[in-house]
Amino acid sequence: MTSSDHRRDASLSRRALLQAGAAGAALIAAPAVLRAQAPAVKLGIIQPVTGALAEAGELGRLGAELAIADINAAGGLKALGGARIEMVFADNRSNPEAAAQEVERLQGEKVAAIVGGFGSGLCMTATQAAARYDLPYLVDVGVADSITTRGLKNTFRMAPSFSMATSVALKNLVTLNDAAGKPAKTVVIVHEDGLFGSGLAKLLGTELPKLGFEVLETISHPTPARDMSNIALRIRSLKPDLVIPSNYYGEFVLLARTMQQQRIRPKAIYAIFGGAASSLRFVKEFPQAADGIIDCNHWHDPKNPRSAEIRRRTEAAGKSYVYNVPLNYSAVTLMAEAIEAAGSVESAKILEVLSSRDFGSGVMPYGRSKFVEGQNVSALPLNTQIQDNDVKVIYPDAFAQVKPVFPLKA
């Protein structure tokens, strides 16, 4: 080794020492500055905030925002040096090709993963656009079974699928009826003619007779529908014990109000994914029409103290609380946990983690969430009933806040 090499070694180590010293000084002097230097992790949040589904989308976005704020306030992603999560928001405009276009934009902005989507059709095109880049996509709501069964490796769903939810809903309906001494024998189904309403009606048409119920009639209507008088009159003449509606917010409210006006009072209104049946806006605006309605839907774990806090923050933001808020809150915390566990924003690592381990479920009553072929197999809908101007959980017992009122007084 020559003397010049020696000199270089010496000067290098001196420089290294200086650098280490400076870094150390900075660490002591300004930890906040250092933390801020970890590059932010971009997370794509996609929701319909314009178009027909805008109201639900706004609430979904709020849920995601609350979660990101909480994660950042708690010190960001620790495995990535305290990196903050930066939300990149995309509006899928309630239409499927805009959803695909927005995914392209999110990919262009180099997001680590995408959470959200809401409607089934919106999720179909969005997950598939993301699949081209193996970009991890966690669906919040989109219930159509095919979203996860078509074998896209990047696609995961937080909430229960359609078939999971309906089997729980039917099981709980039988439990409810049996416990009250089987007062309900006849059913009228009222459904919207889209994916979720007609799918549900078809399923109920075959399953309910097996469980000992007689389906008197299945009535379908388009969305939007402006008048429910004829449907209400039909229900009045059929005199069913149960009415099972499956439609979106506006039509659900209209049906409930029309039935109230015409004093049609079945033994129960039992909704499955009811558009308004567990919406606090409906409860607030039409308390009498809403009273006693039972729903089987996505709902937060009422025993989790954080869920009450999220509801309070939603109302503080001037919004009415529905399941979109806690569900998206939880989906974002789950995705953050996955990125944390992957220790990286690389798609392949996040996908590996998502399909191999279990996660906390935020404020949803899912216990530990685990994905099998993309579907969260721990996901569970809850049965709620509107009692005392509030939405209360009645089933399953582990989460129940009140006893069900069934049958309703005539």
Partner: protein, 329 residues
């Protein structure tokens, strides 16, 4: 039609064909593909509505038939995607002839024709939503398997070129209409059906020819839509959105002109996309711009953008002509 007539369409296609290879982002490519699909549907509408003067409000019937036919053939029957595409176009033509025969035979014109086509599209939507073989309300998913045989390309630039090729075909057909006997008959029927008939034009035959050609292009757009987004349901395929898109683009661009539909689709969607980029944080701002542009065009440019350009060129020429004597003097 001579070789010089083809020069302008080819030039326009060449300009569009360069864009994807300039290293643009996938988001831009995706936008371009979608815009070109809308333009193709609009070119279809323009043949019947623009050149033929038969304002249809239900081109969704053709778009949806193309989309459903190609999807059903692939998903339920395992037919090759290219064959599906051809069958989709054929099915669209069949529906076009069916709708056309029934409504033209009854002498429906103007708003009556518009309403009947709207009703047809709605009937198709309701049937597709309820029937089993269309996947009902759950819609149809085409499997994602990129490959030439499956007509899905991993590289969006290829898809873009393919759609652009079909748009070029639409331009050639439109140019042919402005130069051919059939096109002259069609325009004659638009201007005055009785007068055309008196001169020996068979309006029924001409209109049926136009609706078949129109349905073919719009059905082709439907096939490409299904093949690109790989998911359709009744509202996407037969919903009123595509009927509106198909007629808005020519109205804004210039109905009854060769380039109107393409220019209109580019202007409307390009502007929407640009405002989304600029005012991205305000949801729905692009839709506001969409509305404003539409109002402005209807109010100030009755001939659409192409008509406006022609008027502007005319005015410039007058000014130039007006000046010349002054210079000489």
């Amino acid at each position: 039609m001579t070789a010089t007539d083809l020069l302008r369409p080819l030039l326009v296609v060449a300009v569009f064909a360069v864009v994807p290879w300039l290293g643009v982002s996938n988001a831009t490519l995706n936008f371009l593909v979608y815009m070109l699909i809308v333009a193709l549907a609009a070119q279809g509408w323009n043949i019947l509505g623009g050149f033929g003067g038969q304002y249809s409000f239900g081109h969704a019937a053709f778009f949806g038939t193309g989309a459903y036919a190609t999807a059903i053939l692939q998903v339920q029957l395992g037919v090759n995607a290219w064959v599906g595409l051809v069958c989709g176009v054929a099915a669209g033509v069949a529906v076009g002839l069916f709708v056309g025969f029934l409504s033209f035979r009854s002498g429906l014109r103007g708003s009556y024709f518009a309403l009947v086509t709207l009703a047809f599209a709605e009937v198709f939507r309701v049937v597709a939503n309820a029937a089993g073989f269309t996947g009902g309300a759950a819609g149809l998913l085409i499997r994602l398997e990129p490959g030439v045989a499956t007509l899905q390309f991993a590289d969006r630039r290829i898809t873009c070129m393919l759609v652009l090729g079909f748009v070029g075909l639409g331009l050639v057909i439109s140019t042919w209409l402005t130069r051919s006997r059939f096109g002259a008959h069609l325009i004659a029927v638009r201007e005055n059906e009785q007068a055309a008939e008196a001169l020996g034009v068979d309006p029924m035959r001409v209109k049926l020819g136009a609706i078949a050609l129109s349905a073919a292009l719009t059905a082709l757009a439907g096939c490409l839509y299904a093949q690109y987004f790989l998911f359709i349901d009744a509202t996407i395929a037969y919903g009123p959105w595509i009927s509106v898109e198909a007629l808005l683009a020519p109205l804004v661009g210039g109905a009854g002109t060769v380039f109107g539909p393409l220019i209109g689709a580019l202007a409307l969607h390009g502007l929407g996309e640009a405002t989304k980029g600029i005012a991205g944080s305000v949801p729905g701002i692009d839709l506001v711009v969409f509305g404003v542009v539409l109002i402005l065009v209807i109010a100030f440019l009755p001939g659409g953008l192409m008509g406006g350009l022609a008027r502007l060129a005319g005015r410039l020429r007058t000014i130039a002509r007006g000046r010349r004597p002054a210079v000489e003097a």
